[in-house]
């Protein structure tokens, strides 16, 4: 077994190294290819900074909304099983199967000025396409399942006896939610939130369609990277790419921590 495991280990490490570690290293290498001075200057590029700020603003709205929805719908699906909740369970997973381009297209069909909802909304002066709100909607759409997929299995596992105990001891339902329910869900929710954040700041295809690509106004950081490559400033593009890669590493660390804490919680269960 020892000899075989050495071979397997090397093969897997080589595969993952070539496939995953190498491109990651390459992004950073390219980011700093012209020295730290050029990198610092590129960080001050107005268009990229504006794109970065837009991405942050989108995340500030989309992530909390999706977390609230994700935890809420998970509780409903697990605690109130019915054929409707089973249907919603499947539908919530829908965005996982859909290409971001298709997501962008369906949002545009619904909310553009001549779309289903777009037309009535426009007559009231509300525009939800080719602007900040469209990007937020697209970000919400692509990341809707990410929290519930972590929380639902956990809820099923944990069951309700802790809540029932608290109830018999006289606690109100809000208190029960925040102190009992959420406590057992903490790390699963953290895992889901982190995945949601990563997905929202990294969305490209859907935003490409719904944003209108207006520089400094609806150009997210991912769009900015793509634009820089298309307008032959790849070095600037790699600086943006490097920033996003750095945030990905941060995400990986949080995910690892969440997984580790979940495993600890598992091992200490009676």
């Amino acid at each position: 077994m020892r000899g075989r495991s050495w071979l397997l280990r090397t093969a897997v490490l080589a595969y993952v190294g070539a496939l995953i570690a190498l491109p990651l290293y390459f992004v950073f290498q390219r980011m700093l290819a012209h020295g730290f001075g050029a990198f610092a200057r590129a960080l001050g590029d107005h268009e990229m900074d504006s794109a970065l700020w837009l991405t942050v603003r989108v995340a500030l709205l989309a992530v909390p909304l999706n977390v609230i929805f994700g935890v809420g719908v998970s509780l409903w699906i697990v605690r109130h099983p019915s054929s409707l909740s089973r249907l919603i369970d499947t539908l919530v997973d829908l965005p996982l199967a859909v290409s971001p381009i298709v997501i962008g297209l369906s949002l545009e069909l619904a909310y553009a000025q001549n779309g289903w909802l777009g037309r009535p909304l426009a007559s009231w002066g509300l525009h939800l396409m080719f602007n900040y709100w469209a990007i937020v909607m697209a970000s919400i759409y692509v990341s809707i399942p990410l929290v519930s997929r972590q929380v639902i299995p956990l809820l099923r596992e944990v069951g309700t006896h802790q809540e029932q105990t608290a109830q018999t001891l006289g606690a109100g339902s809000v208190r029960i939610f925040f102190t009992v329910t959420m406590r057992s869900l903490t790390w699963a929710t953290a895992y889901g939130v982190t995945l949601t954040l990563a997905r929202v700041i990294g969305e490209y295809g859907a935003v490409l369609i719904v944003s209108g690509n207006v520089a400094y106004v609806t150009e997210t950081l991912t769009l900015n990277i793509g634009n820089n490559f298309d307008n032959f400033s790849p070095d600037q593009g790699f600086v943006g790419a490097g920033l996003l890669a750095l945030s990905s590493i941060f995400v990986l660390l949080v995910l690892g921590l969440a997984r580790h804490r979940e495993r600890l919680r598992h091992e200490y269960r009676p």
Partner: protein
């Protein structure tokens, strides 16, 4: 543990709600708020040109305090977005049918090309007969021609359109479904054969060869240039102004002017929104003024203003600066009305009994041979 936990959760939710309220309503950090904003939507290669023209305009009295938002991308994509409601005051697109799409969509007035109509809104001095002589092609803000871009030193010795279909030649041209530049390239390819006396059938056969040699079809003109400069293919078909921008930027490429080429005419129009904004109308006028046209000329475009053209003619290859350049009306008297569906209709209709020779959608039909040659 319990009360502390719920308190911190409450605190976090308050902060989150506060963040949400702030996030939606804080615009991107920027300079002082302008008094009025002009929304420009253009095709992909205009980005640098408009940066220059807008800055120059803002230095004039009419442009003081005017802010701009800019969106540049593949011409057909931009057209669709504006038709679907994207905010736009001024649209500078790649070819005339794009503007006509916007007229049909109700965004641009049908009289978009008549300057008298436009200028009458701001009491301009340049109206009527005078306008006709100074602007030979109403509504067209810049001219260019179709040209080749090859690697430095021209290793494959590409000089003419027939060289493009030799073995080993890999052509880069954008995707005709989304890009205006692609339309011009295919027009250039098709017309080049007509110009050397070939028949329509032979020109179509050439188009098939041409498309079979493409190795990449990025979504826009500027994306194609980026792909070519990054190493894809060995010849790029593009606007002359974009090719010159690449050479001026110091890339290892050189321009090859084919003996037959095609006149590219880029239209500009004020939308119905734009017509009611004096700043937008003034900017439109500026584009056609000597100052504005001078900036375009310095960036490799061919001016439509006769005075500027006379002054800058010498920087363009002598062989295609004459007025005998082929344009859309040389292919068919009806111009775009015939040519656009004939070459680019997405629905290919076949001549009865001849399944290999389509009646319309010629270029779309031959797309299926893309990449099969070379």
């Amino acid at each position: 543990m319990r009360p502390v936990f719920s308190r911190s959760l409450r605190f976090t939710s308050v902060v989150a709600i506060g963040a949400i309220c702030v996030a939606g309503f804080v615009p991107a950090s920027g300079a002082s708020t302008p008094t009025t904003t002009v929304n420009v939507v253009g095709y992909s290669v205009l980005k640098a040109a408009y940066a220059a023209v807008e800055t120059a305009f803002q230095a004039t009295p009419a442009g003081a305090g005017v802010g701009f938002t800019n969106s540049f991308g593949a011409s057909d994509t931009q057209t669709q977005n504006v038709a679907n409601g994207q905010a736009a005051d001024l649209v500078n697109l790649s070819y005339v049918p794009n503007i006509q799409t916007l007229v049909t969509a109700g965004k641009v007035p049908a009289s978009w090309a008549r300057q008298e109509y436009v200028f009458a809104h701001v009491n301009a001095t340049l109206t009527g007969a005078k306008a006709q002589t100074t602007f030979p092609t109403p509504g067209i803000v810049t001219n260019s021609v179709v040209t080749f871009l090859v690697r430095q030193g021209n290793p494959l010795k590409i000089k003419t359109w027939s060289d493009l279909v030799k073995p080993g030649v890999q052509i880069v041209t954008p995707n005709p479904l989304t890009s205006g530049s692609a339309h011009w390239n295919i027009l250039g390819a098709y017309a080049s054969q007509l110009q050397i006396g070939k028949s329509g059938t032979q020109a179509r056969a050439y188009l098939k060869e041409f498309l079979s040699h493409t190795v990449a079809q990025p979504s826009s003109g500027s994306a194609s240039l980026a792909a070519f400069v990054a190493g894809t293919g060995n010849v790029l078909i593009t606007y002359e102004d974009d090719a010159r921008a690449a050479v001026n930027a110091g890339d290892q490429v050189q321009i090859v002017t084919p003996p037959q080429t095609f006149l590219i005419q880029n239209p500009v129009a004020l939308t119905l929104n734009g017509l009611s904004k004096p700043a937008a109308v003034n900017f439109y006028k500026y584009l056609f003024s000597a100052a504005g046209q001078g900036i375009f000329a310095s960036l490799g475009f061919r001016s439509v203003l006769s005075s500027i053209w006379a002054a800058t003619k010498s920087q363009f290859p002598a062989r295609n600066t004459s007025s005998a350049l082929w344009s859309v009306t040389n292919i068919n008297k009806q111009g775009w009305t015939f040519v656009n569906p004939f070459l680019f209709s997405p629905n290919v209709t076949f001549v009865k009994g001849s399944s290999t020779d389509p009646l319309v959608g010629v270029a779309t039909y031959y797309e299926q041979f893309a990449g099969s040659g070379s």
